[in-house]
């Protein structure tokens, strides 16, 4: 008798033996096809907990992934801080139109943070998902890492330039973003999520140097993870070629690290083995080359290659493009199922 997706993924995250490699999408997986199949669509699903849950449930009911997750975009926290958000309509994700602060302004934390903006809708969606698919599927709440929230409330360019010119001026933003992430994470757990994804996409080496990651991103990721004190597993996702900082990411205490195929997973796993690091690595099916533009065969090959490189869970590299064919996402699940059992 096989494990349920929930059992499989939890086993993996808690360092126990699973019946096979879990398959999930650590980052957002909603596509136009999934909207049609579930009958829930953007933009409504960004704001309405019932629609959000219905759309995300498609991750279990249509795509047969081992986990479902909400929300879809990375602007929830920034909006509450006062960044102007541009709605993406039916086809795109909401994006930051104007950051809330100019460097030097005090990043005031709005009171009752988790009662504001779209967080109540996210929490309602988590409660509904738990009820609807949570018995067999792991329900994950996703929040944005402190470094990336700072980028979303200050502007990416301003943050990156200041990271070299005036690093000290950034600390209040990181501290505020970390504090609100703690509150948000706790609310996600109370709503019933059994894992949290920290998306810290701006902490990527595509954006910053290893030194900046170690000094400005990792300490706040670590503090956030410590504040949760192991109540639920915390999966961290960072984009880009992270090889140089993988040990630092592991040292944050994350329960798993989700990476892109740009990372040499086999080499990192070997380095981890030598240093006694057991943090699982999730990835690394390319969302464009394999999932969006590839054939089912390409997807199967990417899944196989990820498994051979030694990932501990199959997941797309990062967010799934919304025009990705549903068949290719299904193939990712099916190809993971055909893999040989884990030794």
């Amino acid at each position: 008798m096989g494990m349920t997706g929930r059992e499989r993924l939890l086993a993996c995250l808690e360092g126990r033996k699973a019946d096979r490699l879990p398959v999930l999408s650590v980052c957002q997986y909603v596509t136009y096809g999934l909207m049609e199949k579930t009958g829930s669509y953007w933009p409504e699903a960004h704001y309405d907990g019932a629609q959000m849950a219905n759309l995300s449930a498609g991750g279990a009911e249509v795509l047969h992934l081992d986990a479902v997750r909400v929300p879809y975009c990375q602007t929830v926290e920034a909006e509450i801080y006062g960044s102007a958000i541009k709605d993406g309509g039916r086809t795109h994700l909401p994006s930051i139109e104007k950051p809330a602060f100019v460097l030097g302004e005090e990043p005031a934390i709005p009171d009752n943070f988790t009662g504001r903006g779209r967080i109540p809708a996210v929490l309602e969606a988590i409660r509904r998902l738990k009820e609807r698919v949570g018995k067999d599927t792991l329900v994950m709440g996703s929040l944005v890492g402190p470094f990336s929230v700072a980028a979303n409330i200050l502007g990416v360019s301003a943050l990156l330039k200041a990271s070299l010119r005036k690093p000290g001026a950034l600390i209040p933003y990181f501290e505020a973003a970390e504090k609100t992430a703690e509150e948000y994470a706790q609310a996600i757990i109370e709503a019933g999520a059994e894992a949290i994804v920290i998306e810290d996409m701006m902490a990527s080496l595509d954006m910053i140097s290893p030194k900046t990651y170690r000094e400005m991103a990792a300490p706040y990721e670590k503090k956030l993870i410590e504040s949760i004190g192991g109540q639920v597993p915390m999966i961290i996702h960072i984009c880009g070629k992270l090889d140089q900082v993988m040990e630092d990411v592991a040292a944050t205490g994350a329960s798993a690290i989700s990476v892109e195929s740009a990372v040499d997973v086999a080499a990192v796993k070997e380095k981890f083995r030598q240093q006694g690091i057991s943090t699982p690595i999730f990835g690394a099916v390319h969302p464009i080359n394999a999932l969006l533009e590839g054939t089912r065969e390409d997807v199967a090959k990417a899944v196989q290659a990820s498994a051979e490189a030694g990932v501990d869970g199959i997941s797309p590299d990062c967010a799934v493009a919304p025009d990705t064919p549903v068949e290719n996402l299904l193939e990712m699940t099916e190809a993971a199922l055909r893999l040989q059992p884990v030794n």
Partner: protein, 216 residues
Amino acid sequence: MADKDILKDLKQSILDFDEDAALELARESLAAGIDPVEAVGVLADGLNELGVKFERMEVFLPEIMLASDAFKNALSVLEPEIKKKNTEGKKAIPIVIGTVQGDIHQVGKDMVATFLATAGFEVYDLGVDVAPSRFLEEAKRLGAKVIAAASLMSTTRPVQKDLIDFLEAKGVRDQFIVLVGGGVVTQEWADQIAADGYGQDAIATVNLAKRLLHVA
């Protein structure tokens, strides 16, 4: 200071991403009677050198952004002089460039805009989050034959296709050369959406634009 030293320092100001020094040295170079085209050349050399280091992950994006600011600072002094010299020459070819709707990534697009300007094009930078209709409006208004659209996210790449579809729907597709680029863009994608060209990086985009417009 000898011309040679000024040029050497000018390049170094880019490698040190020192905005103030870049501006100061650009002024000095003009005062010393150095050809501004040559001065822009060494600035571009500096950016290229950093670009190579960036590829090797020896320097990172913030350094490139600051170097790009230093470059722009120097260019603000040098460019008017180049234009003055070129007034009797042929008119620069206008290009509109922007990052597509829903996408606020600026840096890569800025680099391409800067390199196109350095190569002698009249560049109109529409910024980020540019709707297909705005690309068309601005291109028409400015008489640009080239539209360059960047996308840096898997979730916004489809907007490049939206842009081309929009031009088709308006019946003006054949009036524009549409170039696409950005981290998530591939030649395959450019072919699939029938873009006129794919610029893998700033230098490739300049060469592509020159080739498609038949300018040397």
